[in-house]
Symmetry: D2
């Protein structure tokens, strides 16, 4: 365990830390710390909502979560010598939930985590038209394994990863983001949920910035929800231990920030906070490839090499979806719709074994499922497929002439 360069006291808001983090992307957020290429260091992280959620059996906290505070990020961490045009090489050496004296407590990551279905009124999730109400599952950690009292019959090894890390945007890049996202919002400004989230002064946190700089960050800073050219909220479950990421550098010192640690997540993170959300720690090694953006043509997004200790499953039950909606509307090569249909097909299947739709939805968001873009050229139907590992269940979920083992499988936490 290397030196901790960003510390978090899990009993306090990110705002009240000795060195607070930030919740907007902006080039001028002051550095929290500085590291050298070749060094290894630890970063502690808050859970992404700054711990608005509790270890309880009600989903009221999911329903009412204030998204203006998210994501609470640790950083920015400066890397000596990094200049625009470089690739920042980041090794994910280790990560996990809160350690040592902070291992148990009230904040997510302190021995537990949660998966939530967001209310359609509050952003919603991938299946928000079918499941518009808030729901929640609490997960207990047993070493690398998770179980949930809200999802009996399921037990799996977490594919632990950070949801969100990235470098700071340049002022020009930030301006482009705000411009193109506002153009999208303008297509349907009153949509619920909205098409995108513009800068928002309310609840903005700009690290150690104060006064007019803090105000400028609040006014201009990009929201952290989407992935963009700096990396950001990829929610790619394969950023596991042992991964090496190559981030484009857009500003001097690179300014690496991040958080949103996940104990596990399925491809798509379909319930919105569909991962098992937690605070915790992440250990990095960093290096630079000078001028690497041009040399390797890596200009619009990071590239990475996944680690080699992902949980190993060898048997899967696979669900298929095509770009035809439930009302038989046919969309043109729409992989989003195809994956949504594959998810809904999986939900219907799992309901035959006694799970509620919400339970199945929470499960698909958090378990190590694979979501593949299988065919995207066979007009008019995109075809996506969802691979559910059979070994995560303590009963046999494979189809057979005997029919499914239906049982009372409880229910998720709901709002009420």
């Amino acid at each position: 365990m290397p030196e901790t360069v960003f510390e978090v006291d899990q009993s306090k808001s990110m705002r009240d830390q000795a060195v607070p983090g930030h919740n907007r992307w902006h080039p001028d957020i002051p550095l929290a710390t500085m590291v050298r290429p070749g060094s290894e260091f630890r970063v502690e992280c808050r859970e992404w909502t700054d711990a608005q959620l509790g270890n309880n059996d009600s989903a009221n906290d999911v329903r009412d979560v204030d998204l203006s505070v998210a994501h609470m990020l640790s950083g920015p961490i400066g890397v000596e010598g990094a200049e625009p045009g470089d690739l920042l090489v980041v090794d994910i050496l280790d990560l996990g939930p809160c350690q040592g004296p902070q291992e148990y407590g009230d904040a997510p990551g302190q021995g537990w985590g949660y998966t939530g279905i967001f209310s359609k009124q509050n952003g919603g999730g991938f299946l928000t038209d079918e499941y518009p109400d808030a729901a929640k599952a609490i997960w207990d950690f047993h070493g690398q394994v998770a179980t949930s009292r809200h999802l009996p019959g399921v037990r799996y090894t977490g594919i632990t990863h950070p949801g969100l890390f990235g470098t700071a945007p340049s002022a020009e890049l930030l301006a482009r983001w705000n411009r193109r996202e506002q153009a999208l919002i303008d297509r349907d400004p009153d949509r619920v949920p909205p098409l995108a989230l513009p800068p928002l002064v309310q609840s903005s946190l700009g690290g150690q910035a104060t006064g007019s700089l803090a105000e400028q960050i609040a006014r201009e800073g990009a929201r952290t929800v989407p992935a963009r050219e700096n990396g950001g909220n990829h929610d790619i479950k394969n950023f596991t231990r042992g991964s090496r990421v190559y981030y484009p550098v857009h500003v001097a010192d690179a300014k690496l920030s991040g958080g949103d640690l996940h104990f596990s997540q399925g491809d798509g993170e379909i319930t919105f906070c569909g991962a098992i959300e937690m605070g915790g720690f992440i250990d990095f090694g960093v290096d630079l490839i000078k001028g690497g953006m041009e040399t390797y043509g890596v200009t619009t997004n990071p590239i990475f090499m996944p680690g080699n200790v992902e949980p190993r499953y060898s048997e899967f039950l696979t669900f298929i979806g095509i770009s035809v909606d439930a009302d038989d509307t046919n969309e043109y090569l729409d992989a989003t719709l195809a994956y949504k249909r594959a998810c809904l097909n999986a939900v219907e299947y799992l309901k035959k074994f006694g799970y509620t739709g919400e339970q199945a939805y929470l499960l698909l968001g958090s378990a190590p499922i694979e979501g593949r873009v299988s065919g995207v050229v066979d007009i008019p139907n995109a075809c996506c497929s969802l691979y559910l590992p059979t070994a995560i269940f303590d009963f046999d979920i494979r189809p057979s002439a005997a029919g499914p083992a239906k049982a009372d499988r409880g229910m998720s936490a709901v709002a009420g």
Copy 2:
């Protein structure tokens, strides 16, 4: 090797076989043969275009291919006792290119296969705006391994699978397909390439049907390009040896048909005939789960369990794409665009090593790459990722401070 219930002479068109197959979906195509649940049998297949492509160094044949004849399917194979509402259990026991006396010859699958980029005028592919012209790579088979004179430096084990198998639609289901696809075409009837393909009398082949039945099939039969509720052209690369598929049954006897065998394919099959296309054989075992559609809630698409002998890779270089187009237009959670951007990012990277864009595109279509729907809830940006196995190259494609190993890597076949 079990009994061959559908034979193909690779020197002849599918039309001229002793028992011809078909190239449209229709409930009334006469059975080619009948099998019993519990039995195992072999089906021989033509390459999907009925062998319009040749083992040569010009892409003129790709440019000029007549799509009205595709896909040439073997079948229908009746399964005794199958009734609407059942699940047809299909084991893929083995498959491969042409065997025995037909192992070498002029038809794809006779010792060789091809990958083609379709011309934008003739359907195009996933990157047709960026690569509108026809191109082709010829692959030679070495046991389970493929190499191409048009893609030097690359060698990989094929993830061999059928692109297309399915049961016959009922008359009602067929009518629904034609209705919803026509509604899609009507949104932009003059688009190039078209949004969907309506029934087409020209070149229709209805198996052993003649006279008015053949005419009805030609008039009503659905084109085989997209995957639908009967299975069909999934182009899911994971239908490998050892897979078990559960197809919904929509008509008496199930009427299983298929073809479009692939020696290898990457997720998405992005060049349209992006797989390594071939004729060959496939060995099946079949069984029934009576009433399984309702019992398991499998009503809109097949489900399946992949085989356990896929080629095993453990190191990948991963490219990421988000739903922001090259001109900075931001689309809302558009996984198709995100995957397209990931593909283009990979193409740009590979060009740094000396490949042409067309070569890189052909490679990504045919090699065993993984395409994942990573994040589809982080508004507004969907995030997809493309995993390229590093071991398929005979040089090191990982980024390093030393820079890429640029070399003269030849070129694909082009049209001229």
Copy 3:
């Protein structure tokens, strides 16, 4: 499928082929054919006993098998330019049971194979003290999958490989072999089974040699049972499709020979013909590393790189053995004994589910189990471990509080 350079008519003995093979190692066996470095070719093979075993329910044929005729090898195949000191690079492109018109028939490999427990009077197997009597299981092939009427409840994908391939020994090497093996025999000349097998004129076959050369080969030729410096009967189950082997070259033209194809085998091949034995075909590519023996220090045994399409299992039940015999005799770091004890522990476990000891023994010999040398330094006990994939059973073999699912599981073929 490349050109066949060694043909086998499965209805005839290896002696009666147009170009017969051989069953002894000797430098002067005449070449059957010649190939060039860089070429690919097919070799057809007889089952190792020359098809003395039948597809029936008696083990009398195992009990009475004449071992003086084994192994019947295809070859020798000369490689142009190969000289002593080179490494012969051999790619295993493909292999499998008999194809085309020979796919069904009476010889092993024609749609079926067998696993046999040898009688202690006739060589015995690894557990011959515990299981001294002949027994047999017949396996049916379903594509890449095997099932046996003598082992109900089991179904697995074969890890198909050649048991035996090698180059010819030089005269000096052959003399060393005969010398050291006779020295071993001399330690206990009357042992049953014997410690080693000396040259044997009876039933010797020297390819196309006749007259005094044939007599010399018969007199001097080394038996083919053990692996030696030329490769030979490794029975390493990981020589699967896609493997690349580097054989030492001891004579001009290398003289590659082999056979003893296995549809599947567990580590150790514990029942002696513990694999699923078959005739069939194997496709090779060959090349040379000139002077490679010295350059790479590969002088006493071949080295190889396994293929990447082995069946993939991820859950195993593991049995442990240490070098303490059943009567509490403690041997010093004896890995053979430790592995034997692990095998016996596995047999006892499987008997609790209803299998006979012979069935369990046959299963462990043929299924894709892993046998590992786990600890060989913790005096006095070597520790070996045996990994049994749980997915090959159609019932749950994991321990639980509920106890094992005992059932009538039939029995193996026995002698009588």
Copy 4:
């Protein structure tokens, strides 16, 4: 992280802990703590020699290590309700080097570990005839990855596991052990290294036992080096995170003890302390299968199911050994010799790239290599194979016509 039931202060000897552990197996060692079936708990461990080795560049400490103090075990941990005849179900939830305030320091496991070749005078290792002198490599931990200044060019993910855990023997079982091991010693009492290690009063530690009980334990207690019927020093590298072990219970409360944590190890642990040795922590869950020894026939050794997060490699270079010694002496089906020859073949190969023999030997002991019992029936030659993952090297170790990339690769620590 569950409650710690056995604490270790890494700055003190195991003898001086608040609750000391033990270094002999005996039924009467007093319980250190008691847990309930269904509970999860943490156990802290000393490195096996009680930290006699240092993070330095001399192997004098390896040469002079006092083995009478080993292995220093944590425990015994009583499990409520456990009775002789039960199976103790032990889940390995997590493990790793020292955490929190003890993460850095002078004891192995505090940020570093070591691999040692023992001197032939002091027990030796697997290749002690070829490498009789002490040598050492120090490893630095980077998350799950290890590197060594004594083995440049190598970097790998640890297959972290405990070398030694077990239940207490009954008095009868202990007497059997002492009897059979003395019989072995008596075959050659003056051998160097010895054939086995009898009870030894010197340095004996019996936990909290004092007075005559401590003396009895010292007099009768079995040495901890070998694996036996209670589990013990298996050194099976596959006891990784996520494993479930079923230990036979021989005494009331089971009395689970253990330690000897390894950051990584190759099959065989060939240098004797061939693993990367460390102190640290291990998290367990426990349960009971009442009467399970008889029910499942698990009477002589534990059984287990490996975890599913082992490092994933897919390309290996494999070395083969047969039971013929360097002087051409042929042994009968001797797997120990065959594995030794495979190891020596690998050492010779690695020397061609610039490593010293000691470096190669240290590497094979500690890296995640697979050692397989491939053939044990092909008289007279046992055949073992050793699978070296190619990805652990930062240069290409595969054979090629170009020859090996020889370089100055430094040297191990040696004694002087």
